[in-house]
């Protein structure tokens, strides 16, 4: 029987193929709970989960909160705009203070890449990464893979095009780590200013010169958000020009396989990375991604509670 032995989930890079498959299959089973009249199981009764968000989030924070509550854990949300971080408290001090209240899991989003590893060394509870800087966003990667598996029944051999600002995208990194471990082929496209050097060394990853090249015969087209809060003004001339070269629209989607899946981690800049007709069209799986997010996060919370200290 497959067992999950990690106490923390910080990056899909740290997980084996078997770990990822177990998290996804558990999420498939968890999904049934979300369709019941009584959407709750007693599994994590008595556990305390702190959602510590140093960056804005709607989907991920709500999704983690609902996931914890559906497993009967007590969830507490801390957003930094209303916390002591605004008074200058360091991450380490905040963590030690939270720890004094004996949480079992801290779910954190932080703008500094790798901050979760720093935190994991300081605390004795589980750490789940809800996004760290430009590093990883493992729950998003897992829910994207679950959504692709829903459609194709497998991940092995899929051609996945990821398009946009790869440099700043933790979503892209988690997807690349996870998808290549499970046998998918990843094709990246984006402005050269947004393409990190050496990204092809992460696995079965091809960097394409143009968006059309990446779209060619793709099973899945994943569009990334232009992160205007992270990049300076120098990476692209303006959003209109970006949209012309790297926006998804009803014309260039025809290069992909017929009825290819269109995905986006949200929030969407409509008319920039994709046209509204693509967001709302019948190839869009965007809301299914959000729906799967709850089940994936339930799976992650469930498995780290049984993990051993690494």
């Amino acid at each position: 029987m497959a067992e999950f032995k990690h106490k923390h989930i910080i990056a899909l890079r740290d997980l084996s193929k078997g770990d990822i498959e177990l998290l996804i299959s558990t999420a498939e089973s968890m999904r049934e709970i979300n369709s019941r009249d009584i959407k709750k199981v007693p599994t994590l009764r008595g556990k305390t989960i702190i959602n510590l968000f140093y960056e804005a989030s709607t989907r991920t924070r709500t999704s983690f909160e609902i996931a914890g509550k559906r497993l009967s854990a007590d969830t507490v949300n801390i957003t930094t705009s209303s916390s002591s971080a605004t008074k200058g408290e360091t991450l380490a001090d905040t963590a030690l203070n939270l720890l004094a209240m004996k949480p079992d899991i801290i779910v954190m989003r932080h703008s500094v890449s790798g901050s979760h590893y720093f935190l994991a060394n300081k605390v004795n509870c589980s750490i789940l990464n809800a996004g760290d800087g430009a590093h990883e966003h493992p729950s998003q990667g897992l829910l994207d893979m679950l959504t692709m598996k829903d459609r194709f029944g497998r991940l092995d051999g899929l051609k996945v095009a990821i398009i946009g600002d790869i440099t700043h995208s933790r979503v892209a990194r988690s997807n690349i780590q996870g998808l290549t471990k499970l046998g998918s082929k990843v094709f990246l496209a984006g402005p050269p200013t947004m393409m990190p050097p050496g990204v092809e060394k992460l696995g079965d990853v091809t960097v394409c010169a143009t968006m059309n090249e990446a779209l060619q015969d793709a099973d899945v087209v994943m569009m990334l958000r232009i992160q205007q809060e992270r990049q300076g003004k120098t990476l692209m001339p303006n959003t209109r020009e970006y949209s012309r070269y790297f926006g998804l629209n009803p014309n260039n989607i025809k290069l992909a396989k017929p009825n290819a899946m269109v995905m986006h981690p949200g929030p969407i800049n409509r008319g920039v990375e994709m046209s509204s007709s693509m967001v709302d069209g019948n190839q869009s799986w965007i809301l299914k991604q959000v729906e799967n997010g709850v089940a994936v996060r339930m799976s992650m919370l469930y498995h780290v509670c049984g993990g051993e200290l690494e």
Partner: protein, 178 residues
């Protein structure tokens, strides 16, 4: 056959037991009205399938059949043991006011049954829950008893009773391992 491995029932014996259980279920409940069968994943689900088939042969109509996975309702989840994979619970009908026949392959401590009953309650308020098991091996740790039993087998706690299924999930024998 080695000394540490005794066959308690063969495929024919199991089939006769399931046929008898099917008759008993129908007798006690005066037919199939409001009856649903729920098997506990995974062994119990296969046994429930066998009982459901016998009932439909006797009565000439199918009974609703569901599967419950009890992993999320276990009472040993809070320890630091690695958590098991979770199977899918499939109860595609309401249990409200139904007579639920809960089915497992081997009844032992009763903890699995407790967990399964808690799970069923989350799907509505059944009129009753009755328990059917292929083997009752004793050593209860909770106040639970079966309504329908294929065979009572006195065992020691050091022994292990297993129902063996073939590739098509048909029960082929029950073995006692010492």
């Amino acid at each position: 056959m080695a000394d540490d491995h005794t066959v308690l029932m063969d495929g024919e014996g199991i089939k006769r037991a399931l046929t008898r259980i099917a008759h008993e279920v129908l007798e006690r409940n005066k037919g199939v009205a409001d009856i649903v069968l729920i098997g506990i994943r995974s062994g119990g689900a296969f046994i429930a399938d066998g009982i459901a088939r016998q009932i439909s042969i006797i009565e000439g109509g199918a009974v609703p059949l569901g599967t419950v996975d009890i992993t999320l309702y276990r009472d040993d989840c809070s320890g630091q043991l690695p958590h098991q994979a979770v199977g899918i619970t499939e109860i595609p009908f309401s249990l409200e006011a139904k007579k639920v026949i809960l089915v497992d392959d081997v009844l032992y401590t009763g903890r699995t049954i407790r967990a399964a009953m808690d799970a069923l309650m989350d799907f509505g308020r059944p009129q009753s829950i009755q328990l059917a098991v292929l083997i009752d091996r004793g050593h209860r740790e909770l106040p639970i008893r079966a309504d329908f039993v294929g065979r009572n087998v006195p065992t020691s706690q050091k022994e292990n009773v297993q129902v063996i299924f073939d590739g098509l999930n048909q029960p082929i024998e029950v073995v006692l391992e010492k």
